[in-house]
Amino acid sequence: MMGSDGRNRNTAGGSLSAGSGSGRAKKNKRKRSSVWILMMPLYAFTIVFVLFPLLYMGFLSFMSRAEVWGFVNEFTLGNYKRILEPLYLNTFKDSLKLAFISTIVNIFIGYPYGYFMARLDEKWKRIMMLLLMIPFWTSGLIRLNGWIIVFRSNGILDKLLMGLHLTDAPLKLLYTYPMVVFGMIYALMPFMILAVYSSAEKMDWTLVEASRDLGAGAAETFFRVTLPLTMPGLLSGVILTFIPSMGLFFVADLLGGNKIVLIGNIIQQQLTKGRNLPFAAALSVVLMVLTSLLIALYRRIAGTRQLEGLI
C-alpha cells in the first residue's frame, strides 16, 4: 500500500560528495546557517539608536555649554561639580525621597492586592485582571485629569466633605507634596500589583498548607514561606515603581504645580528653558548610574535577569 508511486523524495542520489570515500578522518562541517541575518536589524537599531546615544550622552556630560544651544568641544568636570551644588543635590534627595515613599506605600497597598488576587479562583482572576487592565491601559494623563477634577479646590472631594459638614473650607489639596506622592503611587501601582501577582500565581500553595500542617501559625507561614517565595515579584515590583518615579516629570508638573521639583523636572527645564545640553546630560548620567545600581542590586538579590510581571 505504500508502494512507490514515483513521488518518493529524491534521496541524495546525485549529491554524493566527491570526497566521501577518502573523507573518513576529515572533520565534517555543514554549511553554516544564515539565521544570524535575522538579528541584524535588532543589532543595527540597538547600536545606532540605543548604545550610541547613551555613549554620546556620557561624552556630552563632559563638554562645556555653548552660548545658544549645543556644546563646545572643551573637556570639563564642571557639569558634575555643579550637581554637587545644594540646589541640585537637594533635588536628587527629594526625588529619591519621593520615589522611596511611593515605593514603600506601593508595597503595602500592592502586595496584598497581588497576593489576594492570586488566591482567587480562575474566573475571578480573569475578571480582576481585566479590571486592573482598564486603568492601566488608559492614558496616564487622562487619569490624572480625573483626579484633578476630584481634588481641585472646590472640586468633588471638597464639595462632598463640606456637604457632609466634615470641613467648612476647601482643603486645597492640589499642588501639594502629598498630592504628587499620591499621583506617583496611583500611576505606578499596577506595576507592583502585576509583579507580585505573577510571582504569587506561580507559587506552589501546597507549601503554605504544608507549613500550616507542620504547625506554623499564619504569620510565621507568611514570613517563612509565602514572602520568600514571592520575593522575586516583590523586588521586581520595587524596581518597576522606583525607577520610573524619579523621571515622571509630568506628574509633579500637573499635580504639584511648580512647587515640587524633581530630577526629571530639572532635566526638562535645563533642556527647554536653560538650554544647557551638557548639564542636562550630566544630570541624566547620574540618574542613569543610580538606576543601573538599583538594577544591579536587584539582580544580585533576586538572582535573575528577567523582571517579573513586566507585562
Partner: protein, 256 residues
C-alpha cells in the same frame, strides 16, 4: 480554615478607587457647565466641540500614525531579533539584548534627553521621523521579551520534527515558528501600541515644533487649565481602550 471576607473587600475597595478618575472623567464629559467643578446638567456640547477641534484631530491622526509605524517596525525588528538570538546563541547576544532592553528600564526622561541631543547631532529634522525612531526604541523591548519568552517555552523538537518531515528553514519558520509565536507578537503589539499612544515624556523632546501627538496636546492644555473638551476626549479614549481589551480577551480565549 474559615474563609475571611477581608481579601474580597480589600480588592473591591482598591479596585473601586482606581476607577474613580475614570468614572469622574466620563460623568463630567457630559457636564453642561463650563466650570469643571460645577455640575450644570447633562449635555453633549463638549463632544460637539471636540469634533470641531481640528487641532486635536490632527494630533490624534499623528498619534495613530506614530503608534502603528513604531509598533510595526518594532514587531519586525523584535520578532526577527528574538528568533535570531535564540537560534545563534552567540555570546554577544546577551549584551545586545540587554542594551536593547534599556529604553524601558531607565527613566523615560533620560531617553527623551538623549534623543534630543543625538538627533540634533545627527542633523535629523525633528518631527514624525524622530518620533517614530524614539517610540520604536521603547516598543522593541516589549515585543522582543514577549516573543523570547514564548520561544523559550516552545518545544524545540517541534521545529526539528518539521525539518524531519521535509520543511526547509523558511518553511519551518512560516509553518511552525511563526504560528507558535503569533499570540506573543500580538500581545507585544497591543502593549507597545498602548505605551506609544500614552507617551508624553519622550515625545515632548523629539517632536519638534510642527508635529503634535495627542498626549502632548492634552498635556499642554491641562497645563494651561482644564478644558471640559478634554473630558469628552478622555471618555472616548477610555471607551476605545475597553473595546480593544475586550477584543483581545476574545482572541485569547479563542486561542486557549
Amino acid at each position: 480554615m474559615r474563609k475571611s471576607r477581608f481579601p474580597a473587600i480589600y480588592l473591591a475597595v482598591i479596585t473601586a478607587l482606581t476607577f474613580v478618575p475614570i468614572v469622574v472623567t466620563i460623568i463630567y464629559s457630559f457636564n453642561a457647565s463650563k466650570i469643571t467643578s460645577v455640575w450644570g446638567g447633562f449635555s453633549l456640547s463638549w463632544y460637539k466641540e471636540l469634533f470641531r477641534d481640528r487641532d486635536l484631530f490632527r494630533a490624534l491622526k499623528n498619534s495613530l500614525i506614530l503608534g502603528f509605524a513604531a509598533c510595526l517596525i518594532s514587531a519586525v525588528i523584535g520578532t526577527l531579533g528574538a528568533v535570531g538570538v535564540k537560534r545563534t546563541g552567540w555570546k554577544i547576544n546577551d549584551f545586545i539584548s540587554y542594551i536593547s532592553r534599556l529604553p524601558i528600564m531607565i527613566p523615560e526622561i533620560i531617553l527623551g534627553m538623549v534623543y534630543l541631543a543625538v538627533f540634533s547631532f545627527m542633523g535629523f529634522k525633528f518631527g514624525m521621523l524622530t518620533l517614530i525612531i524614539a517610540h520604536t526604541s521603547f516598543c522593541i523591548p516589549y515585543i522582543f521579551m514577549m516573543v523570547s519568552d514564548r520561544l523559550i517555552g516552545m518545544d524545540p523538537q517541534i521545529e526539528e520534527a518539521a525539518r524531519d518531515l521535509g520543511a526547509n528553514a523558511r518553511q519551518v519558520f512560516f509553518d511552525i515558528t511563526l504560528p507558535s509565536i503569533t499570540p506573543a507578537i500580538l500581545s507585544g503589539l497591543l502593549l507597545s501600541f498602548a505605551m506609544s499612544f500614552d507617551d508624553v515624556v519622550i515625545s515632548v523632546f523629539v517632536t519638534g515644533s510642527t508635529v503634535n501627538t495627542l498626549p502632548i496636546k492634552i498635556y499642554t492644555r491641562m497645563k494651561t487649565g482644564v478644558t471640559p473638551e478634554i473630558n469628552a476626549l478622555a471618555a472616548i479614549m477610555i471607551a476605545v481602550t475597553m473595546i480593544i481589551l475586550f477584543l483581545n480577551r476574545l482572541y485569547q480565549r479563542k486561542h486557549d
